[in-house]
């Protein structure tokens, strides 16, 4: 009998280097703001969210001066993360990776974004935007290794990006034809150039790796994690955008937005963020005027986005690309004290966000679910997002 076990074990142990890379079904972006997540990520046609708006569509440059210094946006985690953080010390001490089996089928996710600076400076019909942001993202999930999922999905990347871009409004541009001027005056265009440095860990561990034992697993994981600091040569990736504002009357308007993000795609190790064409529309209604109170329900809009129009992501599900959002200032005291609300439906899952601003201090919290599966509703991962910033 021992012979069988010996054969089984030895043969399994002789398996080296067949680990594949992981290209997840999750729609991962380089930047993902906490508040815009709370409003269902439907921000392609929504202005007024500072850096979050601009990075969703470069034509969304704001007419108001704003800046952020050293903001954390977002700190994102799911509930499993907290439990794992408690267990990870024990795993390190005992080198017993079998403890990970307790996490079979429960993904662990952490994301930390830091915006060192972010400026929006309006100059005539231009709006100059520039800043630096960094992101660290980690995703880990243990599977039953006999299935086609393999044993362990491990994906993480670190990215640092300097961006500079501008949006331009055609408002005062004279085309020599009043009719043309009338229509094009509502148009804005934008260009954002991102200089991106990335490092990535991306592997799918298999049954063979497991059978090689804890030392082997430890070695692979250590090697992969060291790649996070192996920063690549900088990539220059532009984003371009269009925005068209259609006033209905003094209280209502409709915005249309089209953005093409990460043109050329961003390879992060073996993982890839593709070029995406995103379309959005937003309807704004001046509810504060309607109710006769300038402090309540200011900056209200509902928005609808369809991301990745040409289905460049790994999955081809229509509803995973659909995002619906609502935002409003529940209370706004001259932009000094602001309580904001974001609601939405992202990939079919309800989202909720709340923001609080006191002079130069801003904090946002949102709860959302990310679809990890192939279609909307298959495998949600509920995540919490926090952002804290100092700015104006």
């Amino acid at each position: 009998m021992k012979k069988i076990l010996y054969i089984l074990t030895v043969l399994s142990i002789t398996y080296f280097g067949f680990g594949a890379t992981l290209q997840p079904y999750e729609h991962i972006n380089l930047f993902q703001g906490a508040f815009s997540t709370g409003m269902g990520k439907a921000t392609t046609a929504v202005k007024g969210l500072g850096t979050e708006s601009f990075l969703a569509n470069p034509a969304n440059g704001d007419k108001k001066f704003s800046f952020d210094i050293i903001s954390i946006n977002p700190f994102q985690f799911n509930n499993t993360t907290l439990q794992l953080l408690r267990d990870i010390q024990e795993i390190q001490q005992t080198q017993d990776f079998t403890k990970l089996f307790d996490y079979i089928g429960t993904p662990v996710n952490v994301r930390l974004g830091v915006n060192l600076i972010g400026f929006n400076i309006p100059i005539y019909d231009f709006s100059l935007n520039f800043g630096i942001f960094a992101t660290v993202y980690a995703y880990l999930e243990v599977h039953n290794p006999l299935s086609t999922a393999g044993l362990l999905d491990l994906l993480g990347f670190s990215a640092a990006s300097f961006f500079i871009g501008t949006s331009y409004s055609f408002k005062h541009l004279d085309f020599g034809n009043p009719e043309v001027n009338k229509y094009l005056s509502n148009l804005s265009v934008g260009l954002n150039m991102k200089f991106v440095f990335t490092g990535a860990v991306n592997t799918k561990l298999t049954l063979g790796d497991l059978l090689l034992g804890s030392d082997h697993l430890n070695k692979i994981i250590s090697e992969e994690l060291s790649k996070l600091t192996g920063i690549t040569n900088p990539l220059l990736k532009p984003d371009i955008g269009l925005s068209y504002e259609l006033p209905i009357d003094e209280m209502q308007k409709v915005n249309f937005g089209l953005s093409i993000l990460n043109i050329g795609g961003i390879p992060i190790g073996d993982f890839y963020i593709p070029t995406t064409f995103n379309f959005g529309t937003a309807y704004s209604y001046d509810l504060s005027t309607l109710i006769g109170n300038r402090m309540l329900l200011k900056n209200t809009s509902v928005s609808l986005d369809f991301h990745d129009i040409f289905f460049q992501r790994k999955d081809k599900d229509f509803f995973k690309r659909l995002h619906i959002g609502l935002k409003t200032d529940l209370a706004n005291l001259n932009d000094i004290i602001v309580v904001s609300l974001g609601l939405g439906i992202s990939q079919g899952y309800p989202t909720f966000g709340v923001g609080f601003k006191l002079a130069t201090f801003k904090i946002n919290y949102s709860i959302s679910a990310e679809e990890l599966g192939v279609y909307a509703g298959q495998d949600p991962d509920v995540r919490q997002n926090i952002s804290i910033s100092i700015g104006w």
């Binding site: 069988i4 063979g208 679910a369």
Partner: protein, 269 residues
């Protein structure tokens, strides 16, 4: 307007309570296509919902079909780690524990999964390992059924089978009272090919798949360290077809099983 404001707040808190658990688009989304089914199979296996896969196995990849059939019989990661960690248990205990006698009802699911996996195992190490494990499981199940049929007082399969009982079974097979007719008892259409199979056929097919899995792994992975293991394997495989005619008959299988079990009880744990 206060009323409207209150309604909005109520709506907000309702959404918070819903806590993102419900997907509003899910009823509209297309769900039945290969990519989605493969992802679903992985999830179901991770959650231990093996029966969901076995209910409609053709919908899912063959490897996941086999993994579900193994999973429902008790093969899990914790058992696998017994191969990795030194334990107080004997190696025989470890192997016996991973196929529970109470689950022989799933032998048809395993047989069918193996039939499917046989068509594609050679393309992937992972599939080959699964074929290997499923093949050994099928052999073990055949032996357990045989032990049940043997109906000797020394073997009680209702609570599993232990090391002593394996010894008895081996002795019984090596010293049959008259002949091995029980080996050729028909136990149904295991792999759903329209023909009933014998116990010998099931055991033989299990071993055959086991060795095919091994051969595939060795051919796909040139880093095989121990050459003597290869030679041993080669001898064992060739003993399945001693006359070398390429046809593995029931007689070949019965002779092989007797030989195999005889070696088994003579080898130390």
């Amino acid at each position: 307007m206060r009323y409207a404001y209150s309604l909005i707040l109520l709506f907000i808190f309702s959404l918070m309570l819903a806590s993102c658990a419900v997907n509003l688009f899910s009823p509209l989304a297309a769900k039945d296509y290969p990519e989605a089914n493969q992802y679903q199979a992985q999830n179901l296996i991770d959650q231990g919902k093996y029966d969901e896969i076995l209910k409609d196995p053709d919908k899912y990849p063959a490897q996941d079909n086999a993994a579900a059939a193994l999973g429902i019989m008790g093969f899990d990661l914790k058992l696998l780690t017994n191969f990795l960690k030194p334990t107080d248990n004997s190696s025989l205990d470890i192997l016996l524990r991973w196929v529970d006698i109470k689950d022989t009802n799933y032998i048809k699911d395993l047989g069918y999964a193996l039939k499917r996996l046989r068509n594609e195992y050679g393309s992937s190490i992972e599939k080959s390992i699964t074929l290997l494990l499923a093949g050994s499981a099928l052999s073990m199940l055949g032996l357990l059924i045989l032990a049940d049929i043997a109906n000797t007082n020394a073997i009680n399969t209702s609570d599993g089978i232990n090391e002593n009982e394996i010894d008895v079974l081996s002795y019984w097979l090596s010293n049959p009272p008259d002949n091995l007719t029980n080996l050729f008892r028909r136990i149904g259409d295991i792999d759903r090919d329209g023909q009933d199979e014998t116990i010998a056929g099931v055991i033989g097919r299990g071993f055959e798949n086991f060795f095919l899995g091994l051969q595939s792994i060795t051919s796909l992975s040139p880093e095989l360290a121990n050459v003597s293991i290869l030679i041993n394997l080669s001898n064992i495989v060739s003993s399945l077809d001693p006359d070398g005619d390429g046809i593995i008959s029931d007689t070949d299988v019965s002779n092989f099983i007797v030989s195999f079990l005889s070696n088994l009880i003579s080898s130390p744990n």
